[in-house]
């Protein structure tokens, strides 16, 4: 065993190395230690995949965002080996074009942009009202019954509104409600939702267009663009979410391509798809840009160099050490009993994806139902592996059921429940049920409660903006975490709860 002295020296140097590297990075890359809460900076990345045809020059153009109300575009970059890249304007729209003389097989191109939410950034005023463009897609031919239904809808919306904007809002409300109740089958069954809306607006003579927008949400991968409606009024375009009439909630829509311009055009290849990833950062845009595009020293060893897709993954992954630190602290220094060593961290990660309350509720309900069903399984005398496998199936069914119930009741729990690590959950149920049989319900409550307590604490720390900022931008600080872990691992003093366990010794 290494002596305590050597251990202290080792941990001291580890911590020192971590702090020193962080300081150097701060000096060089200018990343601030404290995040600024006032501005959200988004790194958005478009990833284009396609298959190149052999022996032909490839050229691909992607519609790019420009002049977006409420956002400022700070920096853009394309990462694509061997390709030439340039941007150009086409009929007032910005496009990026990649070209290469020869390419083979699967190709991947990246376009990275840094955008800052800036509500002061006012949309440009268009002097001349645009001509209402009609697209081939919009030309849905309605049959007689559909026309009548459409006229009725328009009349309803017209009665409740005063101008084009309020009219659009009312119309969206009606159509959205119709879809929710499955009543609009006549119109919505045959045609796309947004197309129907657009056609209705055209019939009412409202100047509008269908654009593609990106819904900004932190640490998301593999997202696609959603169609939104823009209405021209008071010499500017106003954005409407076709699913939600309330304009205030639209601020997280980032317009990627406006009007009916095609998103992607490809010659010399096929099967082109575009996926979007994004991460949110709280730091001054200029410094962030520097960090992202720094070509020297620390810049090369920075998470920021990775594609956004990987970055958003690391944003969560780099929080794990903090969660582990909390678990170790609670177990070794406080003496809280948890079921499964690092299960609390995984639960905390799940809470990060859901909200705390929903996460707790889901977890408790899932485990409770699981325990009841598991007690039924005991009677079958199954072997361990088969038993766990059965529980996994049960858990999946329960998750599906809860999602369904949530959906019917109007809560959006579905997405969040799926983030719960199903295998871990199954093991938890198995462990707790064995514990119940061997030690009784009290022990189950102690350990279950302990796990949840640690999970909530870990969640509390991990969701803190400053902690997230430090972990992500200064990964070397994890050396300090390691140093602390080593120190705690060699702590031979009493645990806090042992002071209560042995409290009888007061009299001795």
């Amino acid at each position: 065993m290494i002596s305590k002295k050597a251990l202290y020296v080792l941990t001291f140097f580890l911590a020192l190395l971590g702090v020193f590297t962080a300081l150097m990075r701060h000096e060089q890359s200018g990343i601030p230690f404290l995040s600024s809460e006032n501005k959200d900076v988004w790194m958005v990345e478009a990833r284009i995949d396609f298959k190149a045809q052999n022996d032909t020059p490839v050229s691909l153009s992607l519609s790019l965002p420009e002049n977006i109300p409420g956002y400022k575009l700070y920096f853009e970059q394309s990462v694509s080996a061997g390709y030439g890249f340039n941007t150009f304007m086409q009929e007032g729209h910005k496009r990026g074009e990649w070209s290469i003389r020869e390419a083979q097989g699967k190709q991947t191109l990246y376009y990275k942009a840094q955008i800052v939410q800036d509500h002061a950034h006012t949309p440009q005023v268009e002097e001349t009202p645009p001509v209402l463009e009609t697209h081939a897609k919009e030309d849905i031919l309605w049959n007689e019954a559909e026309s009548i239904a459409a006229k009725e809808l328009l009349a309803q919306a017209y009665a409740k509104s005063s101008d084009d904007l309020t009219f659009t809002r009312e119309l969206i409300k009606i159509v959205a409600a119709m879809q929710e109740k499955n009543e609009g089958s006549l119109l919505l069954a045959k045609h796309e939702y947004v197309e129907v809306l657009s056609k209705l607006l055209s019939e009412a003579g409202v100047l509008h267009r269908v654009s593609l927008a990106l819904e900004l949400e932190d640490a998301r991968r593999n997202q696609s663009l959603t169609p939104v409606i823009e209405v021209f009024a008071n010499k500017q375009w106003v954005l409407f979410d076709p699913k939600n009439a309330l304009q205030e909630q639209n601020k997280n829509f980032f317009l990627w391509t406006r009007g009916g311009k095609s998103l992607i055009e490809l010659t010399g290849g096929n099967n082109a798809t575009v996926n979007f990833s994004m991460v949110k950062q709280n730091m001054p845009a200029l410094e962030l840009a520097q960090a992202h595009f720094d070509e020297s020293g620390f810049g090369l060893f920075s998470i920021h160099r990775l594609p956004i897709e990987e970055q958003s993954l690391f944003k969560i992954l780099l929080l794990l050490p903090i969660g582990a630190l909390i678990t170790v602290f609670m177990r070794l220094l406080i003496g809280v009993k948890t079921s499964g060593t690092f299960m609390p961290v995984l639960i905390a990660m799940a809470f990060l994806q859901t909200s705390l309350f929903l996460g707790l509720l889901n977890f408790i309900v899932l485990v409770a139902i699981g325990l009841v069903l598991r007690s039924y399984l005991s009677a079958l005398n199954l072997l361990l592996v088969a038993r766990i496998a059965t529980i996994i199936v049960i858990v999946i069914f329960m998750v599906a059921l809860m999602t369904l119930v949530g959906y019917e009741l109007g809560f959006n729990t579905g997405m969040s429940v799926a983030f719960f690590p199903i295998i871990i959950l199954s093991w938890t149920i198995e462990r707790m049920s064995i514990l119940w049989e061997e030690e009784g319900a009290k022990e189950v409550m102690t350990q279950g409660g302990g796990s949840l307590l640690v999970a909530v604490l870990a969640y509390g720390v991990m969701q803190n903006g400053y902690v997230a900022h430090l972990c992500f931008n200064f990964p070397e600080l994890n050396l300090v975490v390691v140093a602390l872990l080593i120190l705690m691992g060699r702590y031979t003093g009493y645990r806090l709860l042992e002071l209560r366990r042995f409290s009888e010794f007061k009299s001795v």
Partner: protein, 315 residues
């Protein structure tokens, strides 16, 4: 309970904490590769036989499923026995047969079961139903321990056992564990069994605890613990201490039972013995452990080590 005690008072009392036990004693004195010797009861048993340490007699080992078919034949002529999983924990999966009635077997509770049920139990053990890791296991069939009538008044079902902490071959602390109605006949303290601290020098009761609180009478039989005294104490300690040579584990807990006919017998060994023994004894382990650590002279004979402890003043 409910109140906290200052860590300094605790330190002064020499209480061994969980972290200290794990780092300074278990991982320092117990080589990990030796753990299987005590985690597998069959290995412990065979090893004990080699070292001449008394254990309940091994009647038969069922290793494979096809052995189960011969079981009926093998059990012929044996009226009472216990079936145990070799890698079970906490008394799980133990079936006690105390007699026969015609074709049927009588369980300790008095219930009659047929041979099929015995065979099914063995099959479950083989499949690993009771083993902690869920791996395949082996079933041990051994003679039944008949508890010394001495403890008749102090136990609710189950056989009382004596836990002795042996550190580097020296006996450090002892406790008698008595099952209660609360503990469901099991002898584990955290399950509600009574722990009676036993004076390491004399074998007499010091103090008794249940659920971490002091008790003076057995909750079910209402007998006072004052008069408890273990006969043949020295021999019992020598038996426990010889487990050090047998396993090589520096810090271990030996569980010993007193049989009516055969006297002291080793039931099982534990490489991670719990800390509650300190509460039962109203005494911390740490001081005694440190005393033992100071010893430089090697004593190869367990008897010498027991005598060393007997002569020690502050034990």
């Amino acid at each position: 309970m409910g109140r906290f005690i200052s860590p300094f008072t605790l330190k002064k009392s020499g209480i061994l904490g969980m972290n200290s036990r794990n780092i300074e004693f278990i991982s320092r004195y117990n080589d990990r590769k030796l753990f299987p010797l005590v985690d597998d009861k069959l290995k412990t048993k065979l090893l004990a036989r080699e070292y001449g340490i008394n254990t309940p007699e091994l009647l038969y080992v069922v290793r494979y499923q096809h052995d189960v078919y011969e079981l009926r034949e093998k059990l012929e002529g044996i009226t009472s026995f216990a079936i145990k999983p070799a890698c079970g924990s906490g008394g799980k999966g133990i079936m006690v047969i105390k007699g026969r009635e015609g074709e049927n077997f009588v369980k300790s509770s008095g219930a009659l079961i047929g041979f099929e049920e015995v065979a099914r139990h063995v099959t479950n053990i083989l499949a690993g139903l009771h083993s902690l890791s869920g791996d395949q296991d082996v079933a041990i069939i051994e003679t039944l321990i008949e508890a010394d009538p001495l403890f008749e008044n102090y136990s609710y079902q189950g056989v009382p056992d004596i836990r002795i902490i042996v550190f580097q071959g020296y006996p450090v602390m002892a406790m008698l564990r008595l099952s209660t109605k609360d503990s469901d006949g099991k002898a584990n303290l955290h399950q509600g069994a009574v722990g009676v601290g036993i004076d390491i020098k004399t074998g007499k009761a010091i103090n008794a605890v249940m659920h971490g609180k002091k008790v003076f009478f057995h909750p079910d039989t209402h007998h006072s613990f004052d008069t408890v005294e273990i006969p043949g104490w020295k021999e019992l300690l020598v038996l426990a201490c010889s487990c050090y040579e047998m396993t090589g584990l520096g810090y271990l807990g030996a569980d010993i039972v007193l049989d009516k006919k055969h006297g002291a017998m080793l039931l099982e060994l534990n490489a991670r013995p719990g800390l509650s023994i300190q509460v039962a004894n109203s005494k911390g382990l740490l001081g005694r452990l440190r005393e033992i650590e100071k010893i430089t002279q090697k004593r190869r004979n367990p008897k010498d080590r027991v005598e060393f402890v007997f002569d020690k003043e502050n034990f």
